[in-house]
């Protein structure tokens, strides 16, 4: 057991911290705290320019191998990067789906040609990605994908509907699961396609959410052309690809979020001190409780970095999503209880306050990317070996 960071790691921390301090200024200062969950569709033009600033300094795809244009950082350094990024309140990354999901998927399942075509443009920020996996009837049950891909020469025509696609309005490309065979069993006959979002026959409709924001979209395909050369993995092998992507989704990308959460908790503590509820014994217990659970969230995350010798994370890593989603929901409820009667009054602007948005938005945390119920199935079956 040794939880010290090395001197090299600490030096790296200073490096990224210093860079962020020096660059989150002028027009970028206004981006602080923006573009995160619940606000992912906010301040897009500014965040595009910020991505370019990141590219220039080599801060995109820091965890990718050098061979693919990354920095080849260790997992721990990636954590440090994410922590400092969050601590600086730097804006939500526009390129995170390409960097965190599609890139690793391509490295694992793509051809050298596909890697050469797509990876550099994720690194240089010139192509943004969105993900087309979920459908209205394939939420928890991804194997139920209905979107059809019909052959057209060497290529395919996609027809169907995707939903909960973040940033679809602003993306250049989408990776899509579609059914290439209706005869095969549910898990078979699914194929993973890459398709440009400006193809004919693609229509994006934003979904207005509980907060009034629209970061998720529906994407309608009506015979849109996906090239055969842009299939990831085998035709009919999309299930395996999708499972790979989901594993990346649960990976290191969340490792900085505790710092964002800490910022939110700090705001609640300030509010409690300001309005006197900090003296309320019931509120004090609850603030201490969320603080304790946040500390442990970080420790759990650090623990996942020390995996087994074969590189797999410890089975305790499976609790990550259930843990943070439930915690964040509780934080939202606490925020309102700290505000008391003020919690229901909108600010002068008529828009939700940050804490009101937190409260409403966090109801979705326990739903997207695997509901709490699905997470408990996964833990029960995979970590504990309970029967289906």
């Amino acid at each position: 057991m040794d939880l010290h960071f090395t001197e090299a790691d600490e030096a790296f921390r200073i490096e990224i911290r210093t860079w962020l301090e020096g660059n989150l200024v002028d027009e970028f200062a206004a981006l602080k705290g923006r573009g995160h969950l619940g606000d992912m569709d906010g301040v897009i033009p500014g965040r595009r320019r910020w991505e370019q600033r990141m590219v220039e300094a080599g801060w995109t795809c820091v965890g990718w191998p050098r061979a693919h244009g990354g920095r080849g950082l260790s997992l721990l350094q990636e954590v440090i990067f994410n922590e400092e990024y969050a601590r600086a309140r730097a804006p939500g990354r526009l390129g995170h789906i390409g960097e965190g999901l599609l890139g690793p998927t391509l490295m694992a399942f793509g051809t050298p040609e596909q890697q050469a075509r797509f990876l550099p443009r994720i690194v240089d920020g010139t192509e943004l990605w969105c993900q087309g996996y979920s459908e209205p009837n394939a939420g928890s049950d991804l194997a139920n994908v209905k979107c059809r891909a019909e052959p057209d020469g060497d290529d395919y025509r996609l027809t169907g509907q995707k939903v909960w696609t973040s940033l679809a309005q602003d993306s250049d490309w989408c990776f899509v699961l579609a059914r290439t065979s209706t005869e095969a069993k549910r898990h078979h006959g699914i194929t993973c396609f890459l398709i440009p979002m400006d193809a004919d026959g693609i229509n994006v409709v934003p979904i207005k959410q509980i907060t009034g924001g629209t970061e998720f979209c529906e994407v309608f395909f009506d015979g849109a052309l996906a090239k055969g050369e842009h299939i990831i993995g085998e035709v009919g092998g999309g299930w395996r690809v999708a499972m790979g992507t989901l594993a990346f989704e649960r990976g290191a990308s969340t490792l900085g979020q505790q710092l964002n959460f800490q910022t939110e908790l700090d705001e609640i503590i300030q509010a409690a001190k300001h309005n006197g509820t900090a003296a309320d014994p019931v509120i004090r217990q609850r603030i201490a409780d969320v603080y304790i659970r946040l500390r442990i969230m970080r420790l759990n995350a650090l623990r996942t970095l020390t995996g087994h010798d074969d590189g797999t994370p410890p089975r305790a890593a499976m609790i990550t999503k259930l843990y943070w989603a439930s915690w964040h929901r509780d934080l939202g409820e606490l925020a309102m209880d700290v505000l008391g009667a003020d919690c229901m009054v909108l600010p002068e602007s008529g828009e939700l306050s940050e804490l009101q948005r937190l409260f409403l938005w966090t109801r979705s945390d326990t739903i997207y990317a695997g509901t709490n119920q699905i997470q408990r199935n996964i833990i029960g079956e995979r970590a504990l070996g309970l029967p289906r």
């Binding site: 939903v163 959410q209 229901m344 109801r363």
Partner: protein, 335 residues
């Protein structure tokens, strides 16, 4: 002993449900013309229908069920309640008569509001927050350090709330009223308890709507080849909500009856009902979103409207915690 609505009461409730399903967002004028609900619990000699709060609560259940933006709680509950329990005969005739006819009224009590004796009667001053329907009220009942007054001279500006189905206002007063503007037996708690009962009833209706939506969805939404309602994670959540809804209903029906029957424990019953029902509504609204999954947190689905109502109502007329603190005081004495 009959712990259920009579046939007549059931008909009233069903009629209200039917009317609201056709007119979920009726104008106040239409409500007055076609239904006249503010008159339900007002005595016949004041121009009302002469029923009680049981009837008013059953109608409120239906208002809550569809989140109809009908401020019966403000005029027929709080304002009329203040006058019924605190007003002089003359005040009752005139003010309750007006409410029966559809004049909108509200209760302002979250001050500070002060009353000072002056040559011509009383000078009233101050600002009241979160007055339900305050911006549409023709008169207010205000709670001051010197008791309750009715007043028509005030300024109101709407308060934007996370719950758009319940209009609130900030009301400002700086006026002089004659002596007879004071309610001689005015008692804020007696007014509030009528509000608690109706608020509880609305919460029962709203909570049941959340449960009904969730159950209906769980029957038709399939995942993994089965309706999600067959999975215990969903089924048991629904069962827990059913327990909450039915228990909140027992508490609310009793509180309404206790009010009409002037039972000794009427205040306790009202606090019991409103604290339990509001917490039940919160749980039902939150879990209904969860059961609905993705569509549960879209703007288009009504789930979030119930959720907003649920949280806002926990702050209206006293948080459940405050009611429990009052009950603890009753059981345990002061701290």
């Amino acid at each position: 002993m009959r712990f259920a609505p009579t046939d007549e009461q059931e008909q009233l409730q069903e009629a209200a449900r039917g009317w609201l399903s056709e007119a979920p967002n009726p104008s106040w004028n239409r409500l007055i013309t076609e239904q006249g609900w503010p008159a339900i619990a007002i005595d016949e000699d004041c121009g009302g229908f002469g029923f009680g709060f049981v009837e008013l609560a059953l109608v409120s259940e239906e208002i809550g069920r569809v989140l109809a933006p009908i401020p019966l709680l403000a005029s027929a509950g709080l304002a009329a309640g203040a006058i019924q329990t605190g007003g002089s005969v003359t005040q009752k005739k005139s003010l309750l008569g007006a409410i029966s006819q559809g004049t909108r009224a509200a209760l302002a009590y979250e001050g500070p509001l002060t009353a000072t004796r002056c040559a011509n009667g009383w000078h009233l001053n101050g600002t009241a927050l979160r007055v339900i329907d305050g911006a549409n009220a023709k008169f207010l009942i205000i709670a001051t350090d010197q008791g309750l007054f009715h007043v028509t001279d005030f300024q109101a500006s709407p308060t934007a709330s996370i719950d758009p189905t319940r209009e609130l206002a900030t009301c400002t007063l700086d006026c002089t009223v004659p002596e007879d503007a004071r309610l001689p037996q005015g008692d804020l708690e007696k007014a509030l308890m009528r509000g608690w009962v109706l608020q509880a009833a609305e919460a029962v209706g709203a909570a049941e709507a959340c449960l009904d939506m969730a159950v209906a969805y769980a029957k038709v939404r399939t995942q993994f080849g089965k309706p999600i309602g067959s999975f215990q994670a969903i089924k048991h959540k629904c069962s827990d909500l059913f327990l909450l809804v039915e228990s909140a209903r027992s508490a609310t029906w009793y509180a309404a009856w206790a009010l009409d029957a002037e039972a000794e424990d009427a205040v306790l019953a009202a606090r019991t009902a409103v604290s339990y029902a509001n917490d039940a509504l919160f749980k039902c609204a939150a879990d209904s979103i969860q059961i609905h999954g993705g569509i549960g947190f879209t703007w288009e689905h009504r789930c979030h409207e119930y959720f907003r109502r649920a949280r806002a109502d926990q702050q209206l007329l006293g948080h459940p915690r405050a009611h429990r603190a009052a009950i603890a005081h009753h059981l345990l004495g002061a701290i």
